[in-house]
């Protein structure tokens, strides 16, 4: 499942990130905001009535706002 498909309020773990579909500056910013394999993520809020974009998600202990287009680079797996 991809992060943009993760239902709200369900904790998951980042399985992999496809850095190649992101621009280099975006990839670095995503890293700086704490995105990395193995980190716990949870979609908290979705903005806008149309498209429900962007989304706010918890990454580790930080809350990050991100557009669905970028969230789709992140593959998540259920955390056990």
């Amino acid at each position: 499942m991809r992060l943009d498909q993760l239902p709200l309020n369900r904790t998951a773990r980042i399985a992999s990130i496809d850095w190649t579909i992101l621009a280099p500056s975006e990839a670095r910013r995503l890293r700086e905001l704490g995105f990395d394999e193995g980190v716990a993520v949870e979609a908290l809020h979705a903005g806008g009535l149309i498209g429900r974009d962007p989304i706010a998600c918890r990454v580790g202990r930080m809350t990050v706002a991100i557009r669905r287009a970028h969230a789709s680079a992140v593959t998540v797996a259920d955390s056990e």
Binding site: R28, R29, L33, D36, G47, G48, G51, T63, R67
Partner: protein, 619 residues
């Protein structure tokens, strides 16, 4: 000349660095620029517990030592001792957010690798506790190999311990050169940071997050935009409602001062320069200080509480539809106070085309310098009636002017993104800080700095242009029996004749033409210019001199002219500082010239359309 050891405050954005800086230095701060770049250098003096003085400098927030903006580059260069015009710091105070160690320790590890004397301020430990997180300070200190002091900057907790730790770091020897930046890549550092954070976390109870609960309402797709709109509406109503009394005090003070000087000085050049030129001109601008401060107060509160990023989140969708991102909303909202800091803060936008577009539309946000113009005209021409419970017609007109600027900006952004700044839209990725009660001290210091900048402008740009205008409008003296007005006969009047040819089709009269020239320096000068011109023309008539400027205008301008004047100022790029900062931020004259050109064209068309529509409607 300044040999007190330099201590640099470093840390991630949102670590509470500035609050700590304010708590440590209080009001003894100096704001300057680093040479050659437009990055602010905030520094302040403080004494260590043993009495030694040190200079503390608050470096821009950064995520790492690999800069992605000019601000982050300054941070890197200062800690590496490479920044021109800055000494090498004797020690660093690294500020980290206690509840966000995973991320903030990465930068801390990079800084520790430099080998400078260093202490970690584990800030906002109270918020971490609130979220059920207990950090073992000793364990963290062991893991990092540096002293760690828990602090709560906004509540002034842990400051003495921090000062003691700094005193222990600052030796008598000269600062040593930092080691080269570490070669470890960001992924390795990040993983090490996470391990250390885990080891230092003593207890983590199931999260009971206040921020998350509040965000459910604040970021909700329906209640969120309603709250945002309500906040903005309250903000703009407050600018009018709360300022009435203090404006009255300033007006009374000015009138008293004017009377005092009028009786103390003999008639002549000096007396008319001071009374008609300086007091009428500068005074007409200074009365708007309360409104500007109220506006800044709201913006500071929105920033410090953590709401500003939520507003960006809510606005992202709308901004995306014109090719921008929610991030652009923050510079644009601060442009409501002043476009200059607004344009400077566009640096946080990484996408160059997003950034250029944001710079080009920033002057369309109604800045505080327009308030003097708007309030003068609205108070004089729009009846003070109510159109609904608690909604005044004057406030509504002001709101409409703000909306006109915003709608104009969105349309312009759409056009720019499809023409001169064509290309794929950048993204929107932002850290959302926790909600926090802003501290009174931080607000007071922020407001004081704004007030000082405004008064300095009033004392320099506005004073000088007012005096020049007064001289140009006063000489040569009109012959006593000619029946020609002084403001038309003078040098300024003759220059204005030329401009009048261009602007009379859009309803502008002679006095407006005259005011438009000095108003190029700053918009609010238009008010002081008009005040000066009428003060000169009216000296013969004692009765009129004592009238407020608004009352003088009422009898002389038609309503369509007044409305056209308002429409003009929604768009006209009349501000030297904005043009200068745009040149600096875009590295050349091309974009500032483009900006000035397109804004004047829109201003002319908008004022003309307003004038003719109002005339046709029989107003």
């Amino acid at each position: 000349m300044n040999q007190a050891p330099l201590i640099a405050l470093v840390g991630n954005p949102n670590a509470g660095k500035s609050a700590l800086f304010n708590a440590l230095t209080g009001a003894r701060q100096k704001v300057a620029n680093y040479p050659g770049v437009t990055v602010e250098r905030r520094s302040g003096r403080m004494a260590l517990p043993d009495g030694r003085p040190i200079e503390l400098v608050d470096l821009p927030g950064a995520y790492s030592l690999e800069p992605s903006s000019p601000d982050e580059a300054v941070t890197r260069d200062v800690v590496l001792g490479r920044q021109a015009g800055e000494r090498t710091p004797s020690a660093l105070v690294v500020v980290v957010d206690a509840s966000n160690l995973d991320n903030h320790l990465r930068f801390t590890l990079q800084l520790i690798a430099l080998g400078l004397p260093l202490v970690v301020a584990l800030n906002m430990v109270d918020l971490a506790k609130r979220d059920g997180l207990d950090i073992d300070t000793d364990a963290l200190s062991r893991e990092l190999g540096v002293p760690v002091i828990p602090t709560v900057a906004v509540r002034k907790r842990g400051l003495d311990e921090l000062k003691n730790a700094v005193a222990g770091l600052v030796g008598s020897s000269a600062p040593k050169a930092p080691a080269a930046a570490p070669a470890e890549d960001i992924v390795t550092l990040q993983r090490r940071a996470r391990k250390i954070a885990e080891a230092a976390t003593a207890a983590e109870t199931p999260i009971r997050q206040f921020t998350r609960t509040l965000d459910r309402i604040v970021l909700h797709p329906i209640s969120g935009p309603i709250i945002l709109a309500a906040l903005l509406f309250i903000m703009f109503q407050a600018v009018f409602a709360w300022s009435e009394a203090p404006i009255g005090w300033i007006e009374d003070g000015m009138a008293a001062l004017s009377d005092l000087i009028a009786t103390a000085l003999p008639d002549g050049f000096l007396k008319s320069l001071i009374v008609e030129g300086i007091i009428a001109g500068v005074g007409a601008v200074v009365v708007f200080l309360p409104q500007i401060l109220i506006l800044f107060l709201f913006i500071l509160l929105l920033e410090a509480s953590g709401y500003m990023v939520r507003a960006a989140f809510l606005m992202d969708r709308l901004m995306a539809s014109v090719g921008l991102s929610g991030r652009a909303f923050i510079p644009l909202l601060s442009s409501f106070a002043c476009a200059v800091p607004g344009i400077m803060s566009t640096r946080t936008i990484e996408d160059p085309k997003d950034r250029l577009t944001t710079i080009l539309i920033a002057p369309l946000m109604t800045c505080s310098a327009r308030l003097p113009v708007y309030t003068l005209i609205i108070a004089a021409f729009i009846p003070n009636s109510t159109v609904g419970p608690g909604i005044g017609l004057q406030g509504l007109v002001l709101f409409a002017l703000y909306v006109a600027g915003i709608v104009g900006a969105l349309i312009v952004a759409l056009v720019i993104r499809r023409t001169v700044a064509k290309g794929a839209s950048g993204g929107f990725m932002m850290e959302m800080p926790k909600y926090q009660l802003p501290s009174l001290r931080d607000m007071a210091i922020g407001l004081w700095q704004r007030a000082w900048i405004f008064l300095k402008r009033a004392g320099t740009i506005i004073l000088i242009s007012t005096v020049i205008l007064w001289v140009l409008a006063s000489y040569p003296k009109v012959p006593a029996d000619s029946g020609v007005k002084q403001s038309e006969y003078s040098i300024a009047g003759r220059i204005a004749k030329g401009i009048e040819v261009v602007v009379s089709p859009i309803g502008f009269n002679h006095e407006i033409s005259l005011a438009l020239i000095p108003a190029m320096a700053a918009r609010e000068v238009a008010v002081s210019a008009i005040a000066t011109v009428y003060a000169i023309d009216d000296t013969a008539d004692e009765e009129v001199v004592s009238q407020e400027l608004g009352d003088r205008l009422k009898g002389r301008w038609s309503l369509p002219t007044a409305l056209a004047f308002l429409a003009w100022f929604v768009f006209a790029p009349q501000c030297i500082s904005t043009i200068a900062v745009t040149r600096r931020e875009t590295n050349g004259w091309k974009w500032p010239m483009f900006m000035v050109g397109y804004l004047f064209v829109i201003a002319y068309v908008a004022a003309g359309a307003t004038y003719w529509a109002a005339t046709a409607a029989g107003l």
